[in-house]
Symmetry: C2
Amino acid sequence: MLRYDFEQSLLYSVCSTSLAMERALNEELAPHGITYRQWQVLGWLVLEGPLPQGELADRMRIEPPTLVGIVDRMERDGWLERSPCPEDRRRKLLRLTDRVEPVWERIASAARRVRSRAAEGFSDEDLHRLFAGLERVRGNLTRPQPSTAAENRPVEGLPPVPDAPSPVTPPHTPALAEDPRP
Amino acid sequence: MLRYDFEQSLLYSVCSTSLAMERALNEELAPHGITYRQWQVLGWLVLEGPLPQGELADRMRIEPPTLVGIVDRMERDGWLERSPCPEDRRRKLLRLTDRVEPVWERIASAARRVRSRAAEGFSDEDLHRLFAGLERVRGNLTRPQPSTAAENRPVEGLPPVPDAPSPVTPPHTPALAEDPRP
DNA sequence: ACGAGATCGTTAGCCCACGAACGATTTCGA
DNA sequence: TCGAAATCGTTCGTGGGCTAACGATCTCGT
């Protein structure tokens, strides 16, 4: 009965929180003429250098057609360009323009402010637990229907199942490796 | 340093998990010709009876303009209608049609399946903690900038700050009060 | 050597999210 | 009482999410 109530509100809670985060980040990034997803693209490219669109979509955990629109707008606004890949002419490498470097630090600071606000009042332990729980939920839903499933062990703070489907081991979120708060 | 990593991945993790949940739910609901948001609208109206759009938007934690589109499509598909409110001619009450009742139980079951999958391997305690952490993050971001803020006490499983801005005390997620699994 | 099949990015069509601005009402204070 | 201000739903423009399907290209087995 009680248990039911938790399960129930989980979906609602995750989605509402996600929306709140996107809103907060979009608001903080707006002065830079950039959105949440565009910030994420910049972050990954700053972190890893030029990437083909498919790989970037994997890292962002969205579908390639979704990325097309984001990249279109960013190319229009001069943040990056699609350059041909010599080894494989089907691919297009996403490459940041010179416009990015001089403003990236300020953009990263804006994102950091949101992260700090979001995590206010959390201990390291709390934060770790929250993160672990989320990843586990995501794993539960992402993994193809287990049909007659592979018996998942109960959690105890960490997610026992490390993230099967992803071909890359994701460093989780781009390019905020230092913390010179503004 | 480590702490930094947790804060960092939190945003990424919450948004990815939210997307995964929406995807899973949309997939499960598709056979019924309904989406995640439309399911949520049905749930609230089943639970509370006819509501004006503003109040429904509050409960769903989205903006009124967003709700307009959702309601448009649902009215088009015959799930509900906008009926005039006698007390206040600005308002329109959302009222479910007869079409809903005979299929609601099956729709609710579909949603329950997703919830079960999402919560697989979690103890009541884990689930409670996860939920509490999320609500706290949302509170941190939703509450208007605290300027010189109101000192939040650290969490310890529960969210100490109960959810200030909302005018209604939300029952969290609609209308899945019983559990006759299919 | 060449054709079947996989892979890459794109298009098309749908749904959801926001802020700003706007008519239609209701409320409320001078 | 009557006009300023708040409230309700809507429209408009922009950005983000998905699936299905399609040309271009690469791979690989025969």
